[in-house]
């Protein structure tokens, strides 16, 4: 296949099926990545980063963290539209931070290219850094003994903002993030949410074309996080800044994201709109409440040959308001329906249990579960069928990462790892 040009902001590569950009088949869907528009600001093409164990001479300086090569990014291709917000989601180890590190020039790619406004990050990292405002996870990068103004003045000088223009620009960004009243307060006197806003102000200081936010709300309470992300949205909308953001808090992604990139083990498993993701992957659920019968075991037996999945009880504990709390002696059974199965067909199968069925409720899966479905689906395919994925599968299955797909941690409450080994605990009724 002819390799498409990567020097243009319009990216034909993105729609070629060759790279790791497309959505592998979901329930009843064909790969259909969002094609980048002509105004893509960031164009990543076939980007691969393999972390090698450090050479022997280097181990005298610092012990190598890995003993085998780790593919952190596996031929990733994506584009970020100018002026839009792109949310990158994935469990720990998915490659989000490595992608950000490559884009900011902190890590060199093994192969492939990444262009920001047509400038190659590998060849002109300084030029690229001048276009990027970066908000790292946590607040260690602030000088906490210094005031907001001093922090911004320091970085403003590094960014080359002219001396006379700097005070005005600092006042502007502090106003923008709502910290004007705290301008002279030192970092230690700021709340976590205010520090987050100060970091955003620092990122905006040099009028970047692209804001890269690496889990910006990780250390912030939900209210602070909500305010920060509201700011990000308004900045993107009002100043035409493109935003590339990663987060473990899926409710934030849901509120922000018009463009979602889902990554797992260095690969993009979905690239498109949130609504499209739901449309393709969401499987309706039935919450059945039984009294006086062994609902779980009975349902497993009766639905054995239907394309449904019985989810374990524990799924209800951390999941969305699926159903009211069970009453005394009540058993809840959650059935995720396959694309070809209707609620009626499930109830028809459960006829012998109907005398004990005291309640039925249909519920939407949370975004976490939708994403989990995508991740579990793609991991299963990678393991079962190399042919399906072509050359990508061989990379996916060879010594990369130390984590099985079932350990993927995506939580709607912001904690990684809350959903673990669901594959192992769920009962396949298929």
């Amino acid at each position: 296949m002819e390799r498409p040009s990567v020097r243009s902001a319009a990216v034909p590569a993105a729609v070629s099926g060759e790279g790791n950009r497309a959505v592998p088949s979901g329930p009843g869907s064909a790969p259909a990545p969002s094609a980048p528009g002509p105004a893509a600001l960031v164009v990543v093409d076939e980007l691969t980063k393999v972390y090698e164990p450090s050479p022997v001479w280097m181990r005298f300086l610092l012990r190598s963290a890995i003993s085998e090569p780790v593919v952190a990014l596996d031929r990733v291709s994506l584009s970020v539209p100018a002026g839009g917000i792109t949310a990158i989601v994935g469990p720990n180890g998915a490659g989000k931070s490595t992608l950000f590190r490559v884009l900011t020039g902190l890590t060199s790619p093994t192969s492939g290219s990444a262009l920001i406004d047509g400038v190659d990050v590998a060849n002109a990292p300084r030029g690229v850094r001048a276009m990027i405002g970066f908000v790292p996870s946590g607040d260690q990068t602030l000088y906490l003994r210094l005031s907001c103004v001093d922090n911004l003045a320091f970085h403003g000088r590094l960014q080359g903002i002219p001396r006379l223009a700097l005070p005005g620009r600092i006042a502007e960004v502090l106003e923008l993030v709502g910290l004007s009243d705290a301008a002279e307060r030192v970092g230690f006197a700021l709340s976590a949410g205010m520090r987050g806003r100060l970091q955003l102000a620092r990122a905006l200081l040099g009028r970047p074309r692209l804001l890269v936010l690496d889990e910006p709300t990780a250390a912030i309470d939900p209210v602070g996080a909500y305010e920060l992300l509201g700011l990000v949205q308004s900045v993107a909308a009002e100043q035409g800044v493109s935003v590339l953001l990663s987060s473990h808090r899926l409710e934030e992604i849901e509120a922000l994201g018009n463009h979602l990139v889902l990554m797992d083990r260095g690969r993009i498993v979905y690239d498109g709109g949130l609504a499209e993701l739901r449309r393709r992957w969401q499987r309706p659920r039935l919450v059945l409440r039984f009294v006086g019968v062994d609902g779980g075991r009975g349902a497993a037996a009766l639905l054995a040959d239907l394309d449904v999945e019985l989810l374990p009880q524990t799924d209800l504990d951390d999941a969305e308001p699926l159903a009211p709390s069970p009453g005394v002696g009540e058993e809840r059974v959650v059935v995720a329906l396959g694309p070809s199965v209707t609620a009626g067909s499930v109830l028809a199968r459960l006829r012998p249990l109907l005398p004990g069925l005291v309640g039925v409720q249909e519920a939407e899966a949370s975004l976490r579960d939708v994403i989990y479905g995508v991740l579990a689906g793609t991991a299963g395919r990678a393991a079962s069928s190399e042919a399906d994925l072509g050359p990508r599968a061989s990379l996916a299955s060879t010594g990369r990462g130390d984590r099985g797909a079932t350990e993927s941690g995506m939580a709607s409450d912001g904690s990684a790892g809350a959903t673990s080994r669901r594959d192992a605990t769920s009962t396949r009724a298929r």
């Binding site: 300086l61 610092l62 020039g105 902190l106 890590t107 850094r129 260690q140 000088r157 590094l158 080359g160």
Partner: protein, 272 residues
Amino acid sequence: MRSRVRRLLQFTGAFVRMGVRATFSYPLGFALFLATQVLSVVSFVFLAHYLRPSPAIGPSYLSFAAVGVVGNQVLLAGISGLSAELSSAIEQGRMEMLLIEPVSWRLLPVALAVWQILYRVGAALIVLLCAWALGVRFVVEGFPVVVALVAAGSAAGVAVGVLAGSVRVLAKRADPVATVYTLAASLLAGTFVPLNDFPEPLRVLAWFLPTTYLNAGLRKAMLPGSAGIYGPGAGFALLLLALFVALGLPLAVWVFGKSLDVGRRYGVLAGY
């Protein structure tokens, strides 16, 4: 060219201002540092009672040691000072943010060192003032050469410091270059002990250390009756330091760049 210089000054100025703010944020730490400088001279007053003036130490041991302390301060500004700055940037997690700014990575350690140089040169002045108050007399005519020697010595220290920094960014906590240099200089550079009676092989080794010719040059420029002190004269010392800087600084900056490239490749650049 002018805009590049302006940019460089702005970039360096940012670190200097940051250094000033950081230093004076801890007033007790600053006061104790000053006290240490004063005490370092005072302690030599008593030692000087037991050491008679000789050609090897010049007019007095106090003057010999005081100028040695000054030479040491100037060189260590670039070496230990830069090492401390890099260390705190790496361990406090700020290194990543510095590297993301649109600045030259190769010049980053040089800019980081500037405040430390100014700070330690200030400390060296305090040492000289104390020595003067305690009776040491200096040759005022040698002042311009002393300034040039201090400038060249600081730059030489930066060269060694950047080389040390290039190991530091990969080794994170260990600083073998600075450690080895400081140990070697404390023994061989004639800071507190005249090199006149050292065995020849050690004296040869001493010539590999810029501290040796900085100390010798400063003593011969500043102290009357210092011709018998081992080492080059002020002019020759200045030439040697300039040569060291001309060769060493670009090499160190190049090695630092290579070190960052290795860090980028193995993904260890901003970790700790």
